[in-house]
Amino acid sequence: MKVYLDNNATTMCDPLVVKVMEPFYSEIYGNPNSLHKYGTAPHPAITKAIDQVYTAINANDADDVIFTSCATESNNWVLQSVWVDHILNGDKNHIVTTEVEHPSILSTCKFLEDQGVKVTYLPVNEQGVVEVHTVKSFITDKTALVSIMWASNETGMINPIEEIGKICKEKGILFHSDAVQAVGKIPVDLQAIHVDFISFSAHKFHGPKGIGALYIKNSQALSPLLHGGEHMGGRRSGTLNVPFIVGMGEAMELATKNIQATMSKIRAKRDRLEDAISELHDTFVVGERNNRTPNTILISIKGVEGEGMLWDLNNGQIGASTGSACASADLEANTVMLAIGADNELAHTGIRLSLSRFTTDEEIEYTINHFKEAVARLRMISSSFAKQAPTKGGEVQECELHHH
């Protein structure tokens, strides 16, 4: 059996989505900006997709949702254009974000720091969540933007976006949220919650890779990142990616139309898996279950190094993910794991399992068995559970390797 449990990295494109995209490659291929009938032929499908997207996040008709190539582009757009509009050409000089953002936020903030912008990286609590009073205390009258992820890709933990939105609105500060792990997984209602900008991406909810969007409240000003023709009202240039827009709309509708029911189905499977693997001794799961995206588990398994665990799961045809330093190309310890601050060991023993609506009960049962076998094998090899004590003088007092 093959089991894909890395849905926070990317998801399978739903065959229903692929199906609605298909006509827009070789049949209906006109450029939507052209005046002739080839150009207008895809208009109904694009209009439908726009409706699907607005409905899925309950955007107001006065708001803009602009298609981009990915959420990384959306994140870059907000940060770089707020810098241009409000810092270079305004009287602000400060951005507030968190230590646990996606690299497309963190690297862009580092770039802006190099340009002289002050950036505050807020810590998270042991649950991996940003606390509202922390956000409040770091906002100054020079703050141009607060950018805080809606839900974490690593832990699945959901930040108090509604409360942070209220504070930003009160203080008149722009608020952006990277909602990549929220849209399609949990309800996102942009008429109930105040956010100026959100970024999201289709491939996280069974849409195609290579398309994302930026939501802009009240069509407010934000300089374009990509200049060019008059596509999407001049806000983001580049010929409209018709099949992907159509696919994204469909994927969003499929992911959100019965979201409560879908969530509870996924949550039941996730809880079954989480309960079963938590039976193993010396393990712990990061974050309160009720405040987590319903598909995510980040579990630490004492004595089992993350990449080793991934290896064994991979041998069993199970795809998962780890924050382990050893699994990354640069060997750097995972900043999210360290930011949670629980224990250095978590940075090396964390395994992330992320489900989707396509995950089956059989797959969960198979994973439970294989997961337990892998832990048993690796713990048998592990020095952490060895019985014979080292020769006097042969012990290790502390980490001699001085990793981060």
Binding site: K302, N344, H348, T349, S384, Q388, T391, E400, H402, H403
Partner: protein, 326 residues
């Protein structure tokens, strides 16, 4: 970046078959207990290296025949990734049958070579080379425990890059011989810093005592000092090559020649000369001077006097000298 890096490597695909096989089925994982070893009249040594909180930990077991110091049996336990487990397994294999004194000569390079499928292809990608280093460290620790000496004492030289086992001495020598100016040149010449990159500068995978950046800076400083010292010594010995002198030495040398052979005649006529600058270029060495007092208005200052100063300096210091009044 180039074409090969557009997608980037797949970490696990770069492992040798041997690494994969041993990760899936390590041959020497397990424990040896004190009582067992004692019953066979042997001595058990158990050494730890690393810790779970560092991401890698290994425990090495040696059962040693005290009569001839032979390691008759060896096992390991490892908390680590696939390459850490495979490296530990091969290390254990390499220890068995050797005396403690022989085993201590096993390096991480030997471990990595033993993991190769064919001698020409590395067993692991560069950033994983570091996993084999722990195998080497734990051997030294075990040998130290058995012989009652400090593990450090087995290291004859300071190893700066553990992955490629490059010593401080080698690095300094290669930098000097090849006049290396950047860290990436040092990596190209020695392989040091080409693997886990910890030893290049602080802030890498692990903290190190020595960093290539500092070694390069210090060695270059040492090289510059040596050059200056040689020039100074040569001058003190009453000679030296003017062209290789430092600027300050050149100014002093020029001044000395002018003092000895020129200045007295200028002063007699109510003038003087000062050195403004010395510039080296492709044609030779330009010495810029300025006439003072009466010399400033003297016709000869741009002909006869200038010729006299220039030819004196050429004769005493270097025929490449050209004197330019400003």
């Amino acid at each position: 970046m180039a074409k090969a890096d557009v997608l980037g490597e797949s970490l696990w695909d770069a492992y040798s078959n041997k690494v994969t096989t041993l990760m899936n089925n390590p041959q020497h994982q397990g424990e040896i207990f004190d009582a067992e070893a004692e019953a066979r009249g042997n001595k058990l040594i158990v050494a730890d290296f690393g810790a779970e909180s560092c991401g890698d930990a290994v425990r090495l077991y040696w059962e040693i025949d005290p009569k001839n110091d032979e390691i008759v049996n060896s096992k390991f336990k490892s908390f680590g990734c696939g390459t850490a487990i495979a490296s530990s397994d091969v290390m254990t294999e390499l220890c068995i049958g050797k005396t403690v004194q022989e085993a201590v000569k096993i390096t991480n390079i030997d471990v990595e070579l033993a993991l190769r499928d064919d001698p020409e292809t590395p067993a692991v990608p560069p950033q994983k080379m570091h996993c084999s280093v722990m195998a080497y460290d734990v051997i030294k620790k075990a040998a130290g425990l058995y012989m009652g000496v400090d593990a450090e004492s087995f290291e004859e030289e300071i190893i700066v890059c553990e992955c490629a086992r490059v010593s401080l001495g080698t690095l300094q020598e290669v930098i000097k011989l090849n006049d290396l100016k950047t860290c990436s040149e040092v990596t190209d010449y020695t392989k040091a810093g080409g693997f886990c990159k910890s030893c290049i500068k602080p802030g890498g995978h692990e903290a190190r005592e020595w960093y290539l950046e500092d070694i390069l800076t210090d060695t270059r400083k040492e090289m510059d000092t040596a050059t200056m010292k040689a020039a100074a010594d040569a001058m003190a010995a009453g000679g030296g090559n003017f062209e290789e002198m430092t600027l300050v030495q050149q100014i002093k040398a020029v001044d000395a020649v002018i003092d000895d052979s020129v200045r007295q005649f200028l002063i007699q006529d109510g003038g003087d000369v000062e050195i403004i600058d010395i510039k080296k270029n492709d044609r030779g060495i330009d010495i810029y001077i300025r006439y003072l007092g009466a010399c400033g208005s003297c016709d000869s200052s741009s002909t006869g006097t200038l010729y006299a100063i220039e030819s004196t300096l050429q004769e005493k210091l270097s025929d490449k000298i050209k004197v330019l009044p400003i």
